[in-house]
Symmetry: C2
Subunit: 408 residues, 2 copies
Amino acid sequence: MPVNYATPAAAQLSPVAGVRLGVAEAEIRKKNRRDLTLVALDAGCTVAGVFTQNRFCAAPVQICRKHLAGGQEIRALVINTGIANAGTGEPGRQAAQATCEAVGKLLGIGAGQVLPFSTGVILEPLPVERIQAGLPAVFSDLKADNWHAAAHGIMTTDTVAKAASRTLTVNGKKVAISGISKGAGMIKPNMATMLGFLATDAGIAQPLLDKLVKEAADASFNCITVDGDTSTNDSYVMIATGQSGASFTSESDAGWAEVKAAIIAVSVELAQAIVRDGEGATKFITVAVQGGKDVEECRKVGYAIGHSPLVKTAFFASDPNLGRILAAVGYAGITDLDVDGVKVWLDDVLVAEKGGRAAAYKEEDGARVMAQAEIMVRVDLGRGAAQANVYTCDFSYDYVKINADYRS
Amino acid sequence: MPVNYATPAAAQLSPVAGVRLGVAEAEIRKKNRRDLTLVALDAGCTVAGVFTQNRFCAAPVQICRKHLAGGQEIRALVINTGIANAGTGEPGRQAAQATCEAVGKLLGIGAGQVLPFSTGVILEPLPVERIQAGLPAVFSDLKADNWHAAAHGIMTTDTVAKAASRTLTVNGKKVAISGISKGAGMIKPNMATMLGFLATDAGIAQPLLDKLVKEAADASFNCITVDGDTSTNDSYVMIATGQSGASFTSESDAGWAEVKAAIIAVSVELAQAIVRDGEGATKFITVAVQGGKDVEECRKVGYAIGHSPLVKTAFFASDPNLGRILAAVGYAGITDLDVDGVKVWLDDVLVAEKGGRAAAYKEEDGARVMAQAEIMVRVDLGRGAAQANVYTCDFSYDYVKINADYRS
């Protein structure tokens, strides 16, 4: 059961002019499962993406990077579940390439105009022939109001489909933003990966979109952790169709701040949904670190807390175990940290300051916060003005159960 | 139940001439528990230590560093369990100092000649008066053949006492080495910490001992991980009494290589015992990384594998889940790693090469190794001659149970 998350209804997800989506059952690994999704883009879109830093990155990630760098206009995205096409070497790259060629043939575009994505079992060959056989069905399913189905089409072990949408009026034009994501651990290499796709009918010049996708990922998908593992296939791709008539080429353009904020908000919602559906999660935790010298050190502290199995089991147990949080701050890697200047709150309760427990702190106040399904851990490092958030979940019996039983 | 580990019998632990140990029940936090240990050293010893890098380091760690740097001859170590004296600020330092003064008075030495160690609950004040009251009993218990009792005296949630001993003949002199350690997670801040103490009757000049304790810790306590957390109190201290008559001042001295190897072997045994008794551990895993450009990158890969909850739950499940191991290699932080050159073995079974599964690999061979209680994961990075080992355990339901239920 996800923590305070339900998939929006189909009617709540705005179509994005210039984007059509289709979903079908291609029996890639199992029957009776929507496992193939196609996103067709009109001419005139800009597309940008960020991808896993894992050196064992999957074949489709390699092809995506190549096609985005190739300079041809991207006109389609194809996503399969079931098989991740990772750890598959040169045959894997050929399979991803063959998938792009099949999509290109169907849509009358070049293979270099297609971005492929795969998620599922690692080390198994991608059955290209099943994807080829399934493509006519996804093609005939293509329509603009299909985001809800597409959110389901990219799921693997997710317990809920993840989607988000916003509309706003900018410079007199109505702008739509819709996105979908999948993932329930940061990685589950047998049925793997975090994927995210966002489209807007705003027009965004390529350099601005390249910058935005990185900023949005840093504020969203790069702030979440379930188990600290980084998948071979992680991808976040952003599409701007321009069909709303509102177009942007520079950070200083009127209305850009609003569009950017809305796109980042949708990205954060898509990313947080992954944590809320984290494997075995019973609580959603925001670790807000402030008062750092730079963002980097705030993130280090946030991840030290967010990754610590000891902290995460304490959240599961609703135990206000301050020692574990302080210890994580202490080993986060800030070598010149003056711990006497650090303050820690659980929601509004000041729990630690001056190197130890706050004088006025009462255990029952900490216990009250820890019993909630949504918890804010706030850390003030007391040495600067930078801040960063990390979103995580607790660590339960079910995490072990899910990951120990996964292949059986 | 620890994995393939039992405490050596008292008769197997050699006395070390110049070292006497005493243990008593001081009721520091609970009754009927040996919770106070004193180690008295004859004049003429050298002493060196390595301590936690955690910025929230405990008061006794701060006092240890100060006394070791102070230049006075160290003549005693005092260790209490029950209360960690961490996160206690200035009152904590005063309590640790008062403990040293009480020990100094009892032994007729200066407070600056005493090293204090604490392990137990964080954020609680140290009851110095109980330590003072308990000191006469530990003083009257002081004897050379008391290592077995001392190993029990420093336990907290350990399920077994941890001790190791070696004797060897060097340059015609019989040399004894004995040590004890405690810890069952890398950190358990409520009843916390890794502690290790080793003594030899070899004579080792201070600069050589300072170097040795770092090398030995790097080969032992710095190679283990249960949950990746670093305690506020971790300490490893080495004592050389010189009473065997075999003395060393330089790496090139005859016999030094043998003594050094034996001391490192005892250190490794003490460190591995902590992993074998790791919280909820059912398996002991050696991650041996070779073929790296330097030791640092080998350790990065070893820790990426050894820390991954996904890898550790797969070990628990006896699941040869290669994707999780490959993914951990891929995200370990070697940015220019050529994954096609990486090979991975489970014991003698080659499981991965050329960026994917090895052609001859059979799942049943991997499953056979994963079912063992002792598993070797060997990774060849194929880019150099450096190597490093990391020792870890699996991640079971009981880990969550122990850490979620700990304070209840």
